[in-house]
């Protein structure tokens, strides 16, 4: 019963998102893509990258997109995430990579006044983000949940079937991709982890022996099938969004 309501609500909200908030969502998608691409080029690990995206989404939950330059906020989010997750990133690298993102094929910046101004603005924006988020900048990410779930599921499956099926890779990629949207700040980490695992297993048609309870019920008590489906549909929308945005 409640599941149906949930599904209905999610449909409504997603529909509304498609029509109403479309321009904003598209911008956020592009900026998140920018964060992720930059993160890859900077050699960031998944968790700091997830933190950077979460910071960005959290920031624009309360801030207006018309007031703040999203790409500058994104750069500062990357910088701040590196600090929060203890993967030190140098501002010079961040600015270099971002500069090249906006001016593909251009020569690296000269280390002159303009560069230092850019650096100052990144650092200033970092302080702004901190204040806007009330200095609550550490998040619980679904990554470690997902990995533990994967391990539990693996031991339940036949080892050869497991080694043949790229469930772990797919689930991990799905989770990373989910940061293109605000899914990460809307749902609890456990739900996200279960949903990505569910989708990955369904993609390959992998079945787990059935017991009294479903495996996802065991992994996360308060999740319902509808929750999983909501998250999955939100996730899959992001892939559709990619086609629209690029």
């Amino acid at each position: 019963m409640s599941a149906n309501v949930d599904v209905a609500r999610s449909r409504v909200s997603s529909d509304a998102g498609d029509t109403e908030a479309s321009p904003d969502t598209k911008i956020h998608f592009r900026v998140c893509r920018f964060i992720i691409e930059t993160g890859v080029k900077l050699g960031m690990r998944s968790v700091p990258m997830a933190t950077a995206c979460s910071l960005y989404h959290k920031f624009f939950q309360s801030a207006n997109l018309q007031v703040y330059e999203p790409y500058l906020v994104a750069m500062s989010c990357i910088y701040l995430a590196g600090k929060v997750e203890e993967q030190h990133l140098r501002t010079r690298d961040i600015i270099n990579v971002c500069h090249r993102y906006f001016h593909p094929g251009s020569d690296p910046l000269e280390l002159d006044g303009q560069f230092w101004e850019l650096r100052d603005s990144v650092v200033q924006c970092e302080l702004l983000i901190l204040r806007q988020l009330n200095f609550q900048v550490s998040f619980e990410h679904p990554h470690k949940y997902l990995l533990h779930y994967l391990l539990s599921v693996r031991s339940l499956l036949n080892r050869h079937a497991w080694s043949r099926t790229p469930i772990a890779e797919t689930a991990w990629a799905l989770l990373k991709d989910s940061y293109h949207g605000a899914v990460c700040v809307r749902h609890p980490p456990q739900h996200l982890a279960v949903s990505t695992l569910y989708l990955a297993m369904h993609s390959y048609g992998v079945q787990i022996p059935k017991g009294e309870m479903e495996w996802w019920q065991v992994l996360c008590e308060d999740i319902t099938k509808a929750d999983i489906e909501t998250i999955i549909s939100e996730l899959l929308q992001l892939y559709d969004m990619e086609a629209k945005c690029t």
């Binding site: 690298d93 270099n96 690296p108 031991s155 080892r159 017991g211 309870m213 495996w215 992994l219 690029t246």
Partner: protein, 750 residues
Amino acid sequence: MDRDLLKQSLSFHGQSLFSLLNCEQSENPDFKAVATDLFKAAHQRRERENDSPVVEQFIARKADILFAPSWKFCAPSDDDHQETREPYAIMPPLEQFMEVPFEERRDLFYRDVERGDMVIGRINSIRDFGFFVTIICTAGGLKRDIEDLELTALCPIRDVPSTGHHDDPLSYYQIGDLIRAGVKDIDRYHEKLTISLYSSSLAANLSKFKLGVISKEDLPLHYIRAERVSSDRSLTYEKLLESSLGFSNPSNVDVLLEKLGVSDTQSASLMRGLQSKHFMEEDFATAIRKKQSASWALKCVKAGVDHFKSGRHVEAMNEYNKALEIDTNNVEALVARGALYATKGSLVKAIGDFELALEGCPSHRNAKKYLCQTLVERGQQLEEEEKLVTAEGLYRKAIALDSSFQEAEDALQKLQLHIQKSLKLKEEAAKEQEKAKTVETSAEKLRKILKEEKRMKKKRKRSSSSSSTSSSSSSSSRGSYSSGRKKSKKRKRKRKRSSHSYKKRHRRISSRDEKSTEEEVEWYPAPADTSASFINQTQAMAKLLEDKSESGDRRLSQSREGARSHSFGSTSGVETMEEKRGRFEDDPFDRSPRGKERVQHSKQSTGSKHRSSSKVNGRERESHRKSEEGHSGGGSRPECSGISSKSRRYSSSSAGSEYSRKSGHSVDPPSRDSNYRGSEGRQCDLTYRTDRSDSKDSRRTGVNYGRSSCDVSQDNKTMVEGGQRKELPSNLLDIFSQIAQFEKEKRQKK
């Protein structure tokens, strides 16, 4: 595309997915190749609830990524460390929470258990042919909830290692023992297991486990946790996960990613735009930084070259160094710096820079040219230093670098000629030498002896310089007296030394010398008035004593003068002084401040005019005498006094009076310094003297010298007497004269 995977997915999703796939992947040649195969699989669909069409569409759209063989990128590292700490949360088997039915679990176990797996069980019966084990849990890779399945395995007797005795290996085991064993054989049809206690039965990644009887503590963590879960129904997976220590490990993500074989920094995404083929290598942070640093460094080099051209070499060097700091091994910066070094004359450094530059860029024309020129220049330098072979090597190197470099070739030819010449010369010289040798052997021998003696004399001269300075600066009688007194003291010390280990003492002194350099610094600015009053005091005391013994002293000191040389020759104190001197000479930087100190010092301690050193000596003498008086008066034991005087010298003694202690500290350094001064001052006149002395004379001193060692015992005797003489100052005169006579006799004997 992985056909089996696609089949599996199709049989799960059915016909709808197949039509979607046909639609979405119509342009994919890979899919077309496998499509016909898949058609059948799509119809094998089992009856189950409908899946959402969104998921199927997603699968269809991303099928080229999802089912690409490269998507499964790396094999997991299934290295199960059995550590006490858990790097990630180790959870009980999932089926325990899911409550999978008994039968299914049993089937699953028999399906998945494999040879080489590790199981843990309890012995339930022992027979002649082996023992039966009820398996309670699995260990190692496979993790299943099997305790209630009542699985029984047989461990045959041939798989039980014998303990080395002749008795039955099974006698070692008892019913109820916990056994860790490897799965040796599985009969899946009859559901029978055979296990082995030989570790060769285990898979390679488990081989470090020991098989056999284990204790309860050795049970795997997932089993222990499973027991906790089965006893406490409220303990859910979630609660257990969040309460376990490994879950709060901040690096558990990295550990698990490695365990599962997922690469983290590699971009793995189902997004089309994030496929790794879209990432250019030159867009990555490290590449950009490198490029940026290089251009920045080049800018610095340009600035440096400008500085260099206008003659500001220091600024140019700073720029080059900055450039190299920004971008180590920047070729241009290295070449520029090398050129600067070369113009500044540091050819070796220049060569180093050029070589580094050529290492980074072997075709750099300027670097090559400069290196050749610098090598030749350095070679010429070496030639002047007569290091012909090294120079030749450098020329050869230059030619090897640039065979058309005429200058190097010319230099090399010249050098080779030179070498040949010098070789010839050497040969001739050797021949001549051989000739000369036969003639000049006797003369040479003589010269050698002379040289030896000169050396010895120098040594002695240095040692006796302290007393000789005093004698030279003050009235001769007093000076000689003081030296005599001093000598007796020194002898005393020497005797002590002979009773102690010689070397040990030597070492101690040298270590003290190091300390004393610090002490000296502290000591120099001593309050002027105290030292002055002190000098006065000592002066008075010295006079008192000297007046009494003056007449007797004259004779004595004269007779002693000769003996002095040998008695001093072998004291270790002298050696330390020499050592010190050696240090001064070795270290030119150390020398100059020392010299200053010395000068300053002599000024300070002397106060006025030439009597300074005599005063100093007097002071020292006084202090020594004082302490010795005190001791021999108290205990009348020379050894004791010797020890205490030593301790006074090397540390502040508690035995001596305050006065003597003070004097011991304050007087010592000046006396030593005056020694240096004396020895230095003496150096010239010593050489002068030795130059003058003919071979006969020096031989005589040599004999004297040789005799000195046998004099030691006699010296000791006199020293004892000396000790007594201090005790009775009134009788000094008599005693001194006695000694003098004794010594005269001794001399006559010899």
